[in-house]
Structures are given as structure tokens and as C-alpha cells.
């Protein structure tokens, strides 16, 4: 238990950031019209591909002889970037269809 209290006091900033980000996320998303729910969701889904940054960090930090870390890192980068590129591309494709007639 003690270690966790030490961790939190050492990482107060992170705790602040987490809580404030939750509020930002909620405020930004609420009141979005239902017409945009699908693009929003697929856009948010693309954003969650931000894990690819971590996957790249894992690969950069790996020993070139550590095949275990490199293999898993490689797969993680492929999957993460797939989520990012596919997610943003398909969101863009959907949004292109939303038109208002003049």
C-alpha cells in the first residue's frame, strides 16, 4: 500500500492530467448529433491507434539481439499503424459523403 501512496505523490502531475483529460474528453464529445456518431466513433478509434507510438518506442529501445521484444514490437507497430491509417482513411471517406444540398 505504501508504495502506491509514494507512487501517487511522485506522479501528482500525471494524476492531474488524467482527471483533467477526462473532463476535456467528455466536454468535447457531448452533444454531438447522432448523424455524426459513426464517423466520430471511427475517428476516435483511429486516435486509439496512438498505441503505435508506444510500439515504436519498444522497438527503438530493444536490443537488436532481443528477438522476443523485436518480434512482438514489430507486430504491435503493424497492428497499431493499421488502426491509425485505416481508421482515419475510412473516417475521411465517410465524411466526404455527408452533403447538404444548396
Amino acid at each position: 500500500m505504501n508504495e502506491w501512496i509514494v507512487f501517487i505523490s511522485n506522479n501528482l502531475e500525471i494524476t492531474y492530467i488524467i482527471i483533467l483529460s477526462i473532463f476535456v474528453g467528455v466536454e468535447v464529445i457531448k452533444n454531438i448529433p447522432a448523424v455524426l456518431h459513426t464517423p466520430l466513433m471511427s475517428g476516435a478509434n483511429a486516435l486509439s491507434g496512438v498505441v503505435v507510438v508506444g510500439a515504436i518506442m519498444v522497438m527503438l529501445n530493444s536490443d537488436p539481439q532481443n528477438y522476443f521484444a523485436l518480434t512482438l514490437g514489430f507486430i504491435a507497430v503493424v497492428l497499431g499503424i493499421l488502426n491509425v491509417v485505416g481508421g482515419f482513411a475510412v473516417t475521411g471517406r465517410m465524411l466526404k459523403m455527408f452533403k447538404k444540398k444548396s
Binding site: 474528453g25 483511429a46 514490437g73 488502426n83 482513411a89
Partner: protein, 459 residues
Amino acid sequence: MSISLSLIYLVSIIAFIIGLKKLGHPATAKNGNIIAASGMGLAIAGTIFIHDLQVPRSIYILIGLAILIGSIIGGLMAIKVKMTKMPELVSLFNGFGGASAALIGLVEFSKDGGDKMITTTIVSGIIIGAITFSGSMIAWGKLNGSIKSVIKIPYYNTANNLFLVGIVAFAFFMVTAGANNEVLAFALLAAGLIYGILFVLPIGGADMPVVISLLNSLTGIAAAITGVLLSNMVMLIGGILVGSAGIILTIAMCKGMNRTLGAVIFGTFSATDSIAGTNKTLGTIKKTNPSDSAIMLNYATNVIIVPGYGLAVAQAQHIIHELEELLTKKGVDVKYAIHPVAGRMPGHMNVLLAESNVDYSLLLEMDDINAQFKNTDVVLVVGANDVVNPAAHNDPSSPIYGMPILEVENAKHIIVNKRTMNAGYAGIENELFYNDKTVMLFGDAKAALTSLVSELKNM
């Protein structure tokens, strides 16, 4: 971490927030997507090129190769997918994000020195990533029809919840015991994967919008946890943004289906418990044909179209737009009423209609249009069932009692297009079909609408 990389991450985070904000308004959504994508590109490029590490060239080549492969596959999938298949694709991508987080957790576990807090983030990253991955894969399979089973075993939910408690207890043991055996990490991964399967497998088709939002939110949380682990702000904040956005959409979907979030996560979240209300005498139905329906529509002053998933299955979104244009040309006031859970993911119906060039200002949400039904001459229901079932209002024994519905029964005339008299996903009878004001136009949505359009053209 160098100051320049930190600044780059800050710019990316601002781009994420502005991008998400702009995604929320029809006029700015396209720009929002581009801004968010640029922020992501910046964060990825910064991570690769700005650091003090001595990285051998071979690793750079591997990273480049991975990015190339992922981009090509992702891009191709995004270009090729049909709009009716959008929910499957989002599930699939979502699962990949979760898998990526779980793999990072596995690698970090092998480097972990036994610090309890770090181990906590690692094990939670592995569990949540694994659940998201396998859950999304099952959702994908169910949505594209390759997995059909809806399990109905007594105490299934209880067993499932106990399993989840077991996983958490196991993870807690790993943290407190300072376990650093990699076999345990793989066991945890396997347990997470199994739970994800068990969680999504019993869920019926109509509940899919809730599940997809929830899984989407979980991937965000997995990304945020990985961000804490690697002390990486862009992952942390990006992940939390997605997590909270997903939770809000999930709650919106729950309201649309009359469920609570707790019920979604911990049980009573399966297809029908019982088939209620079938023995009531509901009267008789009245059949109609395309030419009579065309006459009704032609002489109406206002018409509301209620599209359901049946329309999407029949690929009838283009022909319905043709019908709408034709009626508008004849001076009929035509609108669409969209139920929040019409389709297989939140807002899916809107995308399908947008694909066929329907003006989005004609698509009205449930709360805005419900008051208008009583002044409407004709309502045309195409492939929708449970979302227009009056039992949600007046039959407390019905499983959908309390669910918000489109109150089409208030309109003067109702035309319902369905393939057969089979019940909807909830498996219950719909007394709307037996209403005196209702006529049934049986047939595949596309075929029925096509003959309606040709009848109208001849008038």
C-alpha cells in the same frame, strides 16, 4: 525525453482535441479528421526521429517496414469496405489497437524490475488489451455473420463475472507477489483473451451498437494505461480522450436501448430472456400492394420515412433516396426519422443514407420528430421493427418495455415494409402491424421500393 519531442507531443495533443471537437459538427467534420490525423502523423514521426538513443540501422529498417505494411493493409481495407460493412471494419481496427497495447505490455513485462506500480500498469494493459482484441474479433465475426451462436446457458453471466473476478485476483497476486515469470504474463494474456470471447459471444445482434462503443472505449483506456507505463503524454491523453468519448457514446446507446451501463458490463446483457406477449390476440393484418401504397404516398402532404437495418441489408439506401426525391418533386414534404440504434453501430443509418446523397438536414433524430408523427399523413417503415414497437410504451411485460421508440402509431396512416411476419431481433410481436391504420407491404426492401418508385413515376 528531449524538450523538442515534448513540444511535438503537445502540438499533437492539441490537434487531437481540436480535431475531435471539429468532428462533432457536420460542417467542420472533414477538417477535424484531417487535423487529428496530422497530429497523429507528427507524434509518430517525432517518436521515430527525436531521441538520444543509439539505434542500429536494422531496427529503423524494421520499423519502416512495419509502418509500410500496416499502412498499405489499413489503407486498402479503408478504401474497399462497403458502407454497410462499416461496423465490422471499426471492430476489426479496434481489435488491432487493443492487440498492440497487449503486446507492448508483454514486452515491458519481460523488462520489468518488480516495481509494483509499473507491474500494475503492465498487467492492466495486458488484460484490457487482450479483452478488447478478442472481444472485437468476436464482434467482427458476429457482425459479418460468420459467428452466429447466441449462447443461452443458465448462470452464464454469473460464471462470466466470476471469471473476470478471477482474472483481477490473479493480476493482483502477480503485482503483490512481485511475480516476474513470463509464463504468468502469457497466462494472463490467455485469460484476457478468453474473457473477451465469453463477454461478447452471448450478445445479440440488436445490442451490437452498445458493444462496439464499449470496446472502442476500452482500447482508449488500454492506450492510456500504456501511456502511463511509458511516461508518454501523447498516448496518455489521446487514450483518455478516446476512452471518455467511447463511454459517452456507450451511455447514449444504452439509453437508446433501455439498458444501464452496469447491466451491459455485468449481465442481463443477452438476447431475449423469454418471448413475451405472443399469445395475445392481436387481430389481423392488412396486406397492401405497391400501387395502392404509391397512391397513398402520392396524395399525402407529408411523409416520414423510418429506415431500419432491413433497409441496409437489402442495400435499398439508394432506391429510398430516389423515392424521397420523386415525392419531393410531387410536392410532398418528406423527412427521415432515425432511431439512435438504427443499424449496427451508433449513427450507422445516417452514414448509409449519406452514401446515397440524402441531405443530412432531412434526417431527424427521435426526440425532434416524435411530436411530428400525429400531424403526418403517411409513415413508411422500411425494415425496422423493435424501434417502432408500441409495446415499449404500453406493455410492462415486454422485454423492450421502457425503450424509447419512434411513435409512428400516432400517424394517420402507416405503411410497413417487411420481408415476412417474423419477429425482430428482440424476438417479440409488434402490435403496430395489427393496428387499424397499418397496412403491410411484404417483400424485400429493395424490390418493394423499386416497384413503388415505378408506380409513382406512372402517376
